[in-house]
């Protein structure tokens, strides 16, 4: 029997809701609505402090209603309600979680408090179907850079390695700002990098080839090295080769991420590599992953861009895995956990 899951996401800047339908291993995303704070700045004619959670509060009901109406469904058609309960910004998570609990309680549906980062892996299921046993996973975003061993998704997963300092997306944002690019800088750096020479500037690859940190990352040294290069050029009044800097940065970060992800597949004997998170929208990283996966005979499952950035579909897809997998729903008393452990999919 097919089940339909409402997924709600509010862990950071996006307020999102989506509905997916699951039957056996099959998955279909019926609706996927995202209100980014950008829309709200425009609609309300001013800056709304997102971290004060007000934007989420304003967006919550309209976004959920639109997710239902664009799938031509009502709450009574839904089989379960899932929400990102962590990790993320506490005030933001609280809005989505409270709203989701209210809906689950009112409509008498099972409730799942989920891990936002693990949901990024589930996003791939919207386009590729269920994640097979013994896969490897990579989540890269503004806040996370983590490699996973996925023995049986989502009930048996473990962190193989993580960044020891900055996340990949954070490194891009910070260097972008130093060069005067808009925040967040990922998209701008991606475009500029296409026109630059990826080997123009030497950028270190943190922890590459380190046996003691085989699957860990470090982007703090990358950030420092590029910041230093920029300062030196400014000191000597040289024009900043922004395109070359972007290309060299993207080359270094893309290379170390893809290299370690494929190495993880080799060590785990994984035939499938699942990738998710906002930074996986980066075209240089996608290109490198595709080339290295082909060479290694690994199937790369990296979803299209709307499923990479924060969205509700990934939450509903992970909710579907839990519901179909017979995993007990969360208590309505489950608290949000802004620093939730990455080894568990739900509370």
């Amino acid at each position: 029997m097919a089940v339909k899951i409402l997924g709600i996401e509010s862990s950071c800047d996006e307020t999102a809701a989506a509905i997916c339908e699951a039957q056996g291993g099959k998955r279909a995303v019926l609706s996927n609505i995202v209100a980014s704070s950008m829309d709200f700045h425009a609609r309300f004619g001013g800056v709304i402090p997102e971290i004060a959670s007000r934007a989420h509060l304003e967006a919550f009901a309209p976004v959920v209603k639109r997710a239902l109406s664009s799938a031509s469904l009502t709450l009574s058609d839904i089989d379960a309600v899932a929400v990102s309960a962590g990790p993320g910004l506490a005030g933001c998570l609280a809005v989505g979680a409270s709203g989701a609990k209210g809906i689950a309680l009112g409509a008498k549906k099972p409730f799942f408090a989920l891990n936002h980062v693990i949901a990024h892996l589930a996003a791939s299921e919207g386009e590729f179907g269920q994640i097979p046993e013994n896969s490897a996973g990579l989540v890269v975003s503004g806040g996370h850079t983590t490699l996973f061993r996925l023995e049986k998704f989502p009930s048996r997963i473990s962190v193989a390695g993580s960044t020891l300092d900055d996340a990949a997306g954070e490194c891009f944002d910070k260097i972008g700002r130093l060069m005067g690019l808009p925040y967040p800088a990922g998209a701008a750096i991606d475009e500029l990098a296409k026109k630059g020479d990826p080997f123009a500037i030497r950028v270190p690859q943190g922890l590459r080839g380190r046996r003691d940190h085989l699957f860990d990352f470090s982007f703090s040294g990358v950030k420092t090295s590029v910041a230093r290069t920029i300062e030196e050029m400014r000191e000597e009044n040289m024009p900043l080769p922004v395109e070359d800097i972007c290309a060299s940065l993207a080359e270094s970060v893309g290379e170390v991420l893809s290299r370690k992800a494929i190495e993880a597949c080799r060590v785990f004997g994984s035939r499938v590599l699942v990738v998710g998170g906002g930074f996986s929208a980066n075209s240089q990283l996608r290109g490198k992953l595709k080339a290295k996966a082909e060479e290694a005979g690994v199937e790369l499952r990296i979803p299209s861009l709307p499923l990479c950035t924060d969205n509700g579909a990934m939450v509903s897809l992970l909710g579907a895995d839990l519901l179909e997998g017979g995993i007990s729903p969360s208590s309505l008393g489950a608290p949000i956990d802004s620093s939730m452990s990455l080894d568990i999919a739900s509370l």
Binding site: P49, G143, I175, S339
Partner: protein, 175 residues
């Protein structure tokens, strides 16, 4: 003497300097870390966290703005390290004071044995405490890994007599 000036020759030194400061800190203290990208702010906090027996490793809190980690002050007194990074607030613009307030740190700070370490927090975090220590990081344009680090107390008593403490605690790192 208004501040203690220290030289770090590599990131290992920066961690050690953070660790040396740890026993001088008490609940209610606010450390405000200033300096450029790659100055060593997070590295310093990692050393501090290790010396305070942080229950989880310290990583950059930029994305979530604040991370709380259980620690132990000297004498094993249990407490909380609230590691804040206001970079995102500054990068994004808008009313940073209102946004900073909305983090609710004041409540967390008052209700527990907490120490706040605020990266990029200058000009925003000061209202949190009367016991403030500014930690400034400067990169060296000539020597790639060198950093000069200075400690400037503002109502912060933990350093005691600066001259004596400089020699006793940080002597190895002073020219």
């Amino acid at each position: 003497m208004e501040k203690i000036e220290i030289v770090s020759k590599n990131s290992g030194d920066t961690k050690k300097i953070g660790a040396l400061l740890a026993p001088l800190l008490s609940p209610g203290d606010l450390l405000i870390l200033r300096g450029p990208l790659g100055g060593g702010k997070t590295t310093f906090t990692q050393g501090l966290g290790e010396a305070l027996e942080a229950e989880r490793p310290i990583v950059s809190p930029t994305f979530t703005l604040a991370r709380e980690v259980k620690i132990k002050f000297r004498g094993g007194v249990p407490g909380l390290l609230i590691h804040v990074d206001a970079w995102r607030l500054k990068a994004r613009g808008g009313d940073i004071f209102e946004e900073f307030e909305a983090l609710g740190l004041e409540d967390d700070f008052e209700g527990s044995n907490a120490l706040v370490v605020a990266e990029w927090g200058d000009g925003i975090a000061e209202p949190l405490s009367d016991s403030i220590l500014y930690v400034d990081f400067k990169r060296d344009l000539e020597k790639e890994n060198w950093r000069s680090i200075s400690l400037t107390p503002s109502g912060f008593k933990g350093l005691g007599d600066l001259e004596k403490t400089a020699e006793a605690a940080f002597g190895d790192f002073i020219d």
